[in-house]
């Protein structure tokens, strides 16, 4: 099947707001998940990452805004939460619906968890007893963190699954995409948390500082492993599609391989350079490497979302190439009832 001018086929139904949403959703969900893991698996209190948790919640909130902004009818976005209306309505199987539920639960319970360290900090200024009362509700706090962490991980996985479930999209419909997005989301979450870790230690004192130092070390180590995993996954992903039987898939993969944005921005700027910077103590590993990881993660979402070419029906490219372009204004004016020409 030859492709004459693939740009004539209408693509890019999802644009930059969805790319930002996928990045922020993965970042926020991944951060809440990692905080849960630190608290319950490693015994390091999540309170020392309260600032990171707050930023994660803000990211999820902004991500939701962009998701709604991209809708054709943003004002009726609550329809996504409606239960199936009648027998035979299969909307309950929709991945996007499950994603919306996961996102909402993660956001709400993450916020309820965040109130505890926030109230403990606020108590130092106000001395209101009820603030400390809420902050001391440990079982409830733990429940909120577990729920928000688990649903956060659901958000991380769902972003990739949602794209990969589109069988028509030659560059998305591979099981490697959810793997890549999950690794990237956890990597960016590590970068965010290590950036903010200890920035605001709710339980102050030497123990909290020691915890923060330990968390830094662990986050950097995890991120080093994740960066290596991401480099391997992304190369398998692109090279696999570069040799695929589908012409369109090969074209997109070769576009990636010939792109300066992919090599310079994503691979070197977003993965290789931060990997080596993580090995240098001080500012490079504390601030520069996490920042580059975040930029690389965001760039990955943009590159993937904008690689949404679907397989072409033979002759379709030829048809759309021959459609008149540039007459829209004339014809649209005619359609509005008043013949101005």
């Amino acid at each position: 099947m030859s492709v004459r001018n693939p740009n004539m086929i209408k693509n890019h139904y999802w644009t930059w707001p969805i790319a930002i949403y996928l990045f922020l959703g993965g970042l926020g969900g991944g951060s809440l998940f990692l905080m849960m893991v630190f608290q319950f698996a490693l015994g390091i209190p999540a309170d020392i990452m309260a600032v990171g948790g707050f930023i994660a919640l803000v990211c999820l909130g902004i991500g939701c805004f962009f998701l709604v902004f991209e809708l054709g009818q943003p004002t009726v976005f609550l329809r996504v939460f409606l239960p199936p209306s009648k027998k035979g309505d299969v909307s309950g199987k929709s991945i996007i619906k499950w994603g919306a539920y996961l996102l909402s639960v993660s956001l709400i319970f993450g916020f309820l968890w965040f109130l505890a360290p926030f109230f403990a900090w606020l108590h130092g200024f106000t001395n209101w007893a009820w603030l400390l009362g809420y902050a001391g509700m440990t079982p409830f706090k733990d429940f909120c963190l577990i729920l928000s962490g688990l649903t956060g991980f659901g958000v991380v996985v769902y972003t990739g699954v949602m794209l990969a479930s589109n069988k028509s999209k030659v560059f998305w419909s591979t099981p490697l995409l959810p793997v890549l997005f999950t690794i990237s989301a956890l990597s960016t979450a590590c970068a965010l948390l290590s950036w903010c870790c200890g920035g605001w230690t709710s339980p102050t004192g030497p123990l909290a500082l020691a915890y923060a130092e330990l968390a830094h070390e662990i986050l950097h180590t995890i991120d080093l492993v994740l960066v290596i995993a991401e480099i391997i996954t992304i190369f398998i992903y692109v090279l696999m599609l570069a040799g695929a039987g589908n012409v369109r898939a090969r074209q997109v993969a070769h576009r990636w391989l010939n792109s300066k944005l992919f090599w310079g921005g994503m691979v070197f700027g977003g993965l290789v350079i931060p990997f080596f910077l993580y090995l240098i103590p001080g500012a490079p590993s504390l601030y520069v490497a996490p920042f580059l990881i975040l930029c690389g993660g965001c760039l990955l979402r943009f590159l993937v979302v904008l690689s949404d070419e679907r397989r072409i029906i033979p002759g379709e490219d030829r048809f759309f190439e021959r459609l008149p372009k540039g007459d829209e204004k004339f014809l649209n004016t005619w359609e509005k009832g008043e013949n101005l020409y």
Binding site: Y13, L71, G72, S165, R310, I313, E316, F319
Partner: protein, 190 residues
């Protein structure tokens, strides 16, 4: 039970685009939406054995439509008779179904107000069909290259054509079970 299907007889299609224009007129479509283009890969073969084959496209009204299960609002509906359509009153314009359709049969118009975008697609002219008429593209095709009918009725024309000819369906490997069958032209031979 009724199960609607369409047969595209590529031996008869001459690429006149009458169906394309008729559909746009009947459905009053915005200028940037085309439900049923008639496409061609151009002239094939070496003189004097040359041929030109046209492929009329339309929503495949798949038996297992990926565009229905992905819709989060229940706006994308598959009727018992197989017709797949979009209830614009329920659609919020997330475009997940547009991305899910392997045939590019769904679209949103950029010519409507920003807050009023919803997904549009061919409905097999279900209002006409329920009254016993053919879809407008079928009624318009003077070459009788588009044939519509009930696949579950062994006496219907579509059943006879599908059972009596070698037919192909687009992207069958994706498991969508399209309800649109093509009788290939085979270089001008019946």
């Amino acid at each position: 039970m009724t199960r609607y299907a369409m047969v595209m007889d590529q031996r008869r299609c001459i690429g006149c685009q009458s169906c394309t224009v008729a559909c746009r007129t009947w459905n009053d479509l915005p200028m940037d939406i085309i439900y049923n283009p008639v496409v061609s890969t151009g002239v094939e073969g070496i003189y004097p054995d040359v041929r030109l084959t046209y492929t009329p496209l339309i929503c495949m009204h798949c038996d297992t439509p990926p565009c229905v299960t992905c819709c989060p609002c229940g706006a994308s509906i598959q009727e018992d008779d197989g017709i797949v359509w979009v209830d614009s009153a329920k659609c919020m314009g997330c475009k997940v179904c547009v991305n899910a359709c392997p045939y590019g049969a769904r679209d949103t118009s950029s010519m409507v107000p920003r807050l009023d975008e919803y997904v549009r697609k061919c409905t097999f002219c279900k209002d006409r069909v329920r009254e016993g008429d053919d879809p407008y593209c079928v009624a318009t095709c003077h070459q009788k290259a588009r044939i519509f009918g009930d696949l579950d009725d062994p006496e219907s024309k579509v059943s006879k054509l599908i059972n009596g000819h070698e037919t192909v369906r687009l992207f069958e490997e994706l498991g969508t079970n399209p309800s649109v069958y093509y009788i290939p032209a085979k270089g001008g031979q019946a």
